[in-house]
Amino acid sequence: MQRSDLRDGGVLARTELRAQVRRIVGNRRQLIGVVVGMLSFGLFFPLTFFSPVLSFGAGLVGGDPPLARFGTVLAAGATIGLYFGGATAINQTRVGTVGPLVRTSIPPEAVVVGRFTSETVQAVAFAVIPAIVLLGMVTVGAGSPLPALLVVVATLPLLLAGLLVGRTLGASVRYLGLLSRLSAWGKALVLIVVVGIVFVGFQAAIPALFGETDAPSFSLSSLLPGAPLQAYASVVAAPLGATPRPLGVVVLLGTLLTIPVALAATLRIEAALLFDDRGDQSGDQRVGSRAVPRLLAGTPSTRIAWRYLLRTRRNPKLVSHLTMVLFGGLAFVGSLITQPGLLTSLGPGAAVVAGATLSGATYCLNPMGDDRDQLPLLLTSTASTRHLLRGRVLGGVVLGSAVALGVGVPLGVLGDPPLRVLGRTLLTPVLLLAAAGTALGIGAVVPKFERSEYMNVERAHPSTIAMLGYFFGTLAVVATGLVLLWLTVDDGLGLVLAGGWIAYLAVISTTGVGGYVYAVRKFDRLTLDDV
């Protein structure tokens, strides 16, 4: 890499950052979201560590620095670096926002430097306020700014090394994805399995770390063999009275060496990625036309439902917004590891919750925003959007049924009395339809037509607030129905329960049908002026 590459990369980074700032400042909603997010995270997150950080600051000037806790701080710095580096490398489109003009105007190394700088600054910007607050708390605890300054100096090399190693790993994952012959769904499944293992692993590890109480049973940094970060802390905290350990010097030198090595590696991999015009290796393209199956060929709505399912089968990115549901499912899987009995006790109900969530969330939470680019076709072809909306409902209900009935019924047969299984099977279609109708209503109240990037997919994703509201609302409503069913099967249908059922069914049918009717009315009047 030459000096001119650094200069060109700097220019590119400044331009991208300026463009990003203008984009945010120019959109009041986004600006408020960023400011509120940064302030609330920046101020509230450090408060959760108020007492330990103050005592850490006090300990640093006590003549015997708390190396275990210092090691945890350093481990956090390296982990944050790894995460941001990996996430920014994976979460970028192949040519980024720089486009072909820059790609063909300056050397690839300069492009990589520019993008790395710009994306890292954007990612790390969220950590600046909490870092300042935490360092302020260390200063208050120590009664002097010098220990806080020492913490910064000690953490920065680990943070930078983490960023570069994370970036190299992320770029390698992208490159492997490019070379892979796996189908799009195959890659998605690999990602889900990897994320699932990490997520469930953490969930299973938390009780081991914290025991039954809130207090950590041992230090995070001591998880690494030989406690290398504590050794590193002993070297950097020597001016405060710590006794330096030789391993600490090795770790320091290793960290400093990692920085240029990881930089060279990421430059090489990302530069190669930048100019790799390899086509799709997966074979996803080699498909013929698929006729609508007889089961779904009956009406325009069912045929439209089939096309949505077909499109999803071919492109999992269309349902990338469902990762929130995935994390909910993974949380349940994590619980199963510590309590396997939950599979048959809570499993059938959890399957109904997941199915109801899927039936609305898959295609109904942003029905017209999803089809933003096709609106000129949709609005000049359909006398009413009802066929389209019904198609979305049906598509979602098909997927939801596969989970709610396909998983829930076999699990129920294993652990529940037959009457409860029968009741749940009868209630499920009602819940799925009501959920989908309600989701349509939510999608009509807060449609999103602006494209945004989420999980490395740029499209008009449903509103985050709408998704969260729908997910938790569905959980509460379905759980209520299942409790009613449980009580009815176990105790019989008394007067109170009958009243409960009437109220319950009235509420879910009103929101379901009301949501559908409202969506049809609203979208029948939709024009491009609203987009």
């Binding site: 393209q285 036309s289 609508v292 325009p300 439209i304 949709l378 000049t380 072809s381 359909t382």
Partner: protein, 253 residues
Amino acid sequence: MTGSPAIATDGLTKRYGETTAVADLALQVPTGVVYGFLGPNGAGKTTTMRMLTGLVEPSDGRAEVAGIDSDDRRRLVDQIGLLPEEPPLYEELTGREQLSFAADLRDIPFEQVADRALGLCDDLGLREDLDRRIDGYSKGMRQKTAFVQAVQHDPAVVFLDEPTSGLDPRAAKTLRELIVGLAAEDTTVFLSTHILPVVEEIADEVGVLHDGSLVAEGPPGELIGSTETEGDADLEDAFLALTSDPEEVYAAE
């Protein structure tokens, strides 16, 4: 060609805040003609097409297409077909699936329009690629698919925005012939394009929009003759004369 207007507008206006995109537009487009709709970038052509197809609401005035008020979308959609500048296609579907989907949106079984759709695909050389996914299509293939999608249900009025964009010369020629053929079947074609020789070749009537206002209308020959152009003038000369700003003319002189 018959005398009753396929498209009629009266005082059609569209404002975006302080900006007037289309001002007091009065059009009378007879049935069964190819109407070339011309204008410089930003003149208001796309906005006009969007108002005529019910995609945006006029700020003032009204428009009728095939005798139906343009804000009566429920009835209007049966009578129109639209090829916008960006073909509205689903990347994950094949061409055949896309055409079938478009028919379903209109509540028409694809079998009912298949002969016409596949015939058009044959004419445009698209038939062999119909079972390939659209995300593998070239720009020209997308344009052809979107054209077939717009006309497969035999609408009374077709709106085409730059229909020959991205097409090779042979396909562009075929498309011009198809457009003329549509008009011969009594379909009215409302054609917006910057390619003036195309309009000169196939349009029966031409309207020129400038700064949101209709500055000239009539058959191409009449338009060419009516402008103060020298020698062997063509539609391009007429267009430039009609759409030049007074300041530009003054500066040129």
